[in-house]
Symmetry: D2
Subunit: 338 residues, 4 copies
């Protein structure tokens, strides 16, 4: 049984996460090469220790290698579209971190290139693969909540990223809530058709000065008549807060945060549990392995990928609509964004 | 020690609840009289068994009795303002069920009459006195969550009222979410300044035909910069769902539903607990006694009532703004409603 | 409808609890008289405020009153048997706080007197009426756990009583674990046939000097083959710890502590809930009302009382067997105690 | 950096678990060889896929290889002592699954051989490395519970093993509760000095016919004065039930079961969560990796192993004492077993 040979483009944090996942959890694949223009000696060593034989500066070297079946694009957001188009032309199957691009026209161009090349194209919406959100989705699909009436998602980071990052991030809706927009569609089983965004700068005035917000509530209307709401904060001092709830005609399914252990201490003051798992590396390690596992499985078995380019496009369109809504303080229809 | 003598106007469900609370839980007061134009023999017996000596058809008979210190107005909404004004003129302290009226002008007129008479005037926002929401409020006041950033309230009834009732109720925002609007101000420690309402008819088309909605999400902006969201449904098949969460710079405080017992059964299928307490009579019995207890205490000790007429006005204004927002599909400032 | 007229013998803490329960929660009964040789002015006022008209020093005055239907014996343990026998002869139905006596022969004599008089005789095992233990028992009776294999009970007080009290209490097994012995039989649906007791002095050496223990684990064997274990401590710094679990062929049912509210605070250190309700007055107020309510109902409807004298005898016999087991460091059969 | 080269002796379920753990989670080690007299083709393939190059029938072939640093003994219990002694003589560091042997003399002989050889010797008490029990232990060590008064451990398997296995297992105390005896010492920070065992055949009469029990409660006394209790069942229909609680002068720390997800469904019947993780492979995978990780780390850094031969001996002695206690229906001192 031949293993699928993967090339990782971008040797940063998420590239490393995927390299470890593939090596340790995905028996049907191996990381054959990695490319990063700024790769360090330390980073080379990391990949070598995982058994990755080829380390390049230029991702084109990966695209040029015939034996590489597919690429994982983990570089900075502004390079996703360009590299995807080139990889598609080189006939590689593609797993691309979100977002595809911050420009809707550019995303459509990218999807077109992928379609023409006939390669697989999966977007890195890792939360769909988290055991908790998966179980929630299954409850909905299995009819446990009946017709969906209300979807609620909470997503709060333990601490804001540097303001320098925020400036180039595309803003809270494109950088952070984009995951929740995708999850909202996934959990509701429908499409978002209208959004209304409220935002505030409550965590750090410097974020406001950089033109962004750090706290937001967005109301959603779905094509199937359901309604929803997402709340985000850049800073929850108790750690990564990732919860969701789907309420419907037959009941309600909800998932809570995961904790490092179930240990609970009762003393003279209170009864206390541990805080939630700190951040995405702690919380979503299992999800990262699962999403790439399904990508590899889709390639091996000639099936569709679980999260296609349409989902990548939809989430950015919703994020852009939310930005417009916030700016104009009015509900914005997704159809306005075309 | 003389007991405060109370007259109850309206012998329906909530009038009975207050009569029992006063008799069994409020040592400093007694129900001296009850009045209801449609009082039944069974109802008379109920009040007699509680030791209520005088049962009238006309509430004016209660207002005319000098020995009655205060009245609890538990009649239908459309009579609240009129009776309040008359009771104020008669020099009675007044506890009035929410809402004061569905017309803002009429509410202001009522507040004016109360003010001129110099009597106490408390509005029946019982949830503020629920042990759970009280504990949540205390966490906020004690600084446990720091500066408030996000307030979230969920309120779902176990089953919708009859459509006939819905038609005269003033609609979901005035009849049901009005409690949550009050709670939002209470928990945030600030005032709502803008609302955006999403609504849908998902539970019963007959509710839609009656001109109302049965499912809603309303986004709030507060004067202190915080933002909030309330979701309502007329039907949660698992019972009365009453939760709230206040998130801020130092943490998050949240309260869950109460259950009939802590019993948990693990079997071959799942690990199951009981459903929440069924509805408001089960969940808020303690709160009903506490609110009237504080009303009586305010009278005895010459203190301010804990929930004054302003709160009664504010909640109706917000509800009206939410109705306008839903109709016009745009955010509505509270200042527009003046 | 005539109310059952009750006389309360003993005006201490538990006598007051029952007086309030009857007045406020049991419409079919009233407290007609109270008797206590050491009754204070403050205490008289308390009972007068509840509407109790007759206050005596001598309980014989209560027994002499024909209109009194039944008595609640809330005096000190050493007087229970004597007063019960006299009350039985006076034809009163009897509710007696546990234990009937610390001497098994004396208990049997008491049961004989009660039987001969043909009056009702209920023992104050309040925990059976707690909403949580009731729900647990119902799970067992409804077959949710199948055949019972293991019963586990935890009972820990928030703080030890004064050593002076401990000296006359009959010791931890007769004073504290007696409730758990009764609960074990109740939950298992079987009888304890053998016990093995481990005990230690870990909370306060003064308790050891007084000849008692403050920490204990007792293993139980039941007639139906099931096994069980009870653990007790005189001091849980986090409050009253009252839990139980029944495990069987079809599953496991378990009940947890009750808390003042559901409020949960997440901050930079932990996620904390409130401590359990502090002690028996907070935790079992509902249970106290329920047990006397059922006593009154048994009288009114000519039914058997829910907890008869046999249960009162059995729990003391088990406690004595546990004392013997601890002393001789060997398992002791209940049949040895005859 | 040279990897520690491990040989796995025994290619059954636990041998495979360790092989995967080492390959995927322990960067400092590699499985260089495996030996099993009954190794199948399928099994060979499994190990080859993990990159294990040498597959032997005879474990002596592993002992003979100079480049092998250490062995993991995963063969049947009756071979543990013999292989350990030979491995020690061959100068290999040793990780041995529990129990070392069912005969105390034989265990002592084994410990002597290990000591004389000066090799490392770790016993496979995996539960100490479970994130939950580790957190509980840390709470105790950090003084969160103060002086330990009571230790409670619940361990119930989802289903009994085949009766054929039970016959050669050494019985419930040596095969199953042995883990809990070890955990009890670990959590209490003290040594068990006396046990009293209750046992019953409630799950399957065939287990009784085979001379064993399937349900047990064992009371423990510790050298530091604390007391404890363990309950075991061979069959919990809701899955693997693994909980523990340490109660002391400053509070109580407790750990619950782990679940596949946090998903909770509220419907018209109940509020339900998923059952606990099914069995040890699901629950303790993280613990298996952690224990071998610490073994490898001890070798690499010349430190003591975290669970030495003494712990292996102690747990069997306690199990034997429990057997004696059950047979003679009396408490048995550990000192009697010498």
């Amino acid at each position: 049984m031949d293993k699928i040979k993967l090339g990782i483009i971008g040797a940063g944090r998420i590239g490393r996460v995927h390299a470890e996942s593939v090596t340790f959890h995905i028996p049907d694949a191996e990381v054959a090469a990695v490319a990063d223009p700024f790769i360090t000696e330390e980073s080379k060593k990391f990949f070598n220790n995982l058994g990755v034989k080829e380390v390049f500066k230029d991702y084109k070297d990966i695209l040029a290698k015939k034996e590489i079946d597919a690429v994982l694009i983990c570089s900075s957001t502004d390079t996703h579209a360009k590299i995807t188009i080139e990889a598609a032309k080189a006939g590689k199957d593609i797993f691309c971190e979100k977002p595809i691009d911050l420009d809707i026209g550019r995303i459509k161009e990218t999807l077109k290139a992928v379609k023409e090349a006939g390669v697989k194209f999966q977007i890195g919406f890792n939360r769909r693969f988290d055991r908790n959100f998966s179980a929630l989705k299954k409850s909905v699909v299995d009819g446990k909540v009946g017709d969906v009436h209300i979807v609620k998602i909470t997503s709060r980071d333990p601490a804001p990223p540097p303001v320098a990052y925020i400036k180039v991030s595309g803003g809270l809706f494109c950088d952070m809530m984009i995951h929740d927009f995708d999850l909202a569609g996934y959990l509701s089983g429908s499409e978002v058709v209208e959004v209304f965004a409220s935002g505030a700068v409550l965590v750090d005035p410097a974020i406001g000065k950089a033109g962004d917000i750090d706290t937001a509530i967005v109301t959603l209307k779905f094509a199937n008549g359901a309604i929803g709401v997402i709340d985000n904060s850049r800073q929850a001092v108790y750690g990564y807060d990732q919860r969701a709830e789907v309420f419907g005609s037959k009941g309600c399914a909800a998932v809570e945060n995961e904790k490092p252990s179930t240990n609970k201490i009762s003393n003279k003051d209170a009864v206390c549990e541990e805080k939630p798992l700190y951040f995405f590396l702690e919380r979503y390690m299992q999800a990262y392995a699962a999403e790439v596992g399904e990508f590899v499985s889709a390639i091996k078995n000639g099936k569709d990928v679980p999260v296609g380019g349409d989902a990548g496009l939809a989430s950015v369109v919703i994020a852009k609509a939310a930005m417009k809504s916030l700016k104009e303080n009015r509900p914005v229809k997704i159809s306005e964004m075309e």
